[in-house]
Symmetry: C2
Subunit: 235 residues, 2 copies
Amino acid sequence: MGRGKAETLVAERRTLDGVIYNDLHDRIVTLEYLPGRMIFENEIAAEFGVSRTPVRQAFFRLAMADLLEVLPQRGARVSFLSREKVRESQEVREALEAISVAKAAQKWDASSPESQDFDAEIDRIIAEQTQVVDAGNYHAFTPLDEDYHRAIMRFAGNMTLHDVVSDIRAHLNRIRYIELQESPQDAGAIVYHKQILDAVRANDPDLARQRMIAHLKELEVFREEIFSKRDDLFV
Amino acid sequence: MGRGKAETLVAERRTLDGVIYNDLHDRIVTLEYLPGRMIFENEIAAEFGVSRTPVRQAFFRLAMADLLEVLPQRGARVSFLSREKVRESQEVREALEAISVAKAAQKWDASSPESQDFDAEIDRIIAEQTQVVDAGNYHAFTPLDEDYHRAIMRFAGNMTLHDVVSDIRAHLNRIRYIELQESPQDAGAIVYHKQILDAVRANDPDLARQRMIAHLKELEVFREEIFSKRDDLFV
DNA sequence: GCTTATACACTTGTATCCAAGTGTGCAACA
DNA sequence: TGTTGCACACTTGGATACAAGTGTATAAGC
């Protein structure tokens, strides 16, 4: 599950299939590989200068994440988006982000070192977000958004939850990247990020949950428009 | 994700790694393979009479599900249980089962064919559960419990949610199997199952959610006891 | 006896090889 | 012209071969 990001200190195990998986994952989510495109083990193996074996592993993982469809003896197809999958993913994400932020708000204690660490980290993340949005560097926002939500889950003390959301997000991020092509605008998210944080610091789980849900629902505003405008990308 | 169970009609694609994965998955969850046990690709390959290739795939999937730890050049270790992992899994499961049953309760409409189908299926499942518990066949209950929860999620219209819970459940089921060794008792679950269903049929999402959470929390009652009694199985 | 160097058996990571299934295009034929 | 049969190029599934890392037991040296 998840790409793991491998934030480990030393002795990071770097296997070829991991490298290839991360790379292909990005290509699919950022729409460099469009839905429906066929890719082949030989092709990718040649590109990376490796044998088919690690490529096979990577394909396998991508298939499990529903980003690739392996058609036996025919090749692998980058999976299409679907309204259903997007709706289901959104529902799952909302439920998990909601309990995550509620637990964070419940746990918050300005005098505890753990809260202070969280405080420093989340402020740093928001500062970076502000910076890239000001600079109009919209492509850099998505990873920072992930950092924000991960920081909350870590503070809430449930990384299993993060791993699950991380997998789910891939399908929502693909939509996100379509939107960015159409009309880039992320400034609004930062406002929500700050408001959510205020609720956490006020030890108000219900308000935090409420604002988190509102934040996530904001992402749905343009979706119907995307569905019809880019229906070539959907099943 | 998940084992997928492959309930497809015809042309079921049955690859070797899938067979091996399912088998090993069961062995680990049912504690036939105890936490800490080392297993090796060669060993399993010989047992199934296949090469290391499909076994590797299966190991890989198990590692992603956090059921196996692959130690480079040393072998693979069946992962230990941990209080943390169990707690986190429980939290995730509660959140997802809660929205699942709430959506089901919201959707319920006695006059719709879909509701009637669901009705028939869920009654059949509960009848089977009653039967195996009456017969004292405790080992057969867990899969039927999974059927119950899956049926609700299917009716709620979110199988992504089911796939996620399915992965998460493995870690909770391992604890469950320990409990079954200590003191088998599942009759209580059926009562909850019926009460939850009543709330769904009453179109009462909040009550359904509440009862589902109570049902799931019931599973936690003996857990501390298990932790201390079988601490050889935990990290 | 105790420490240290080292050979070796055993593991996984990767590459290569063989088997079997799929779709396409061309040729034979009605 | 339209249809059918079939060879072939290309794909993935699985088996085998090779490379490289790890832990242990043994032997050498003090």
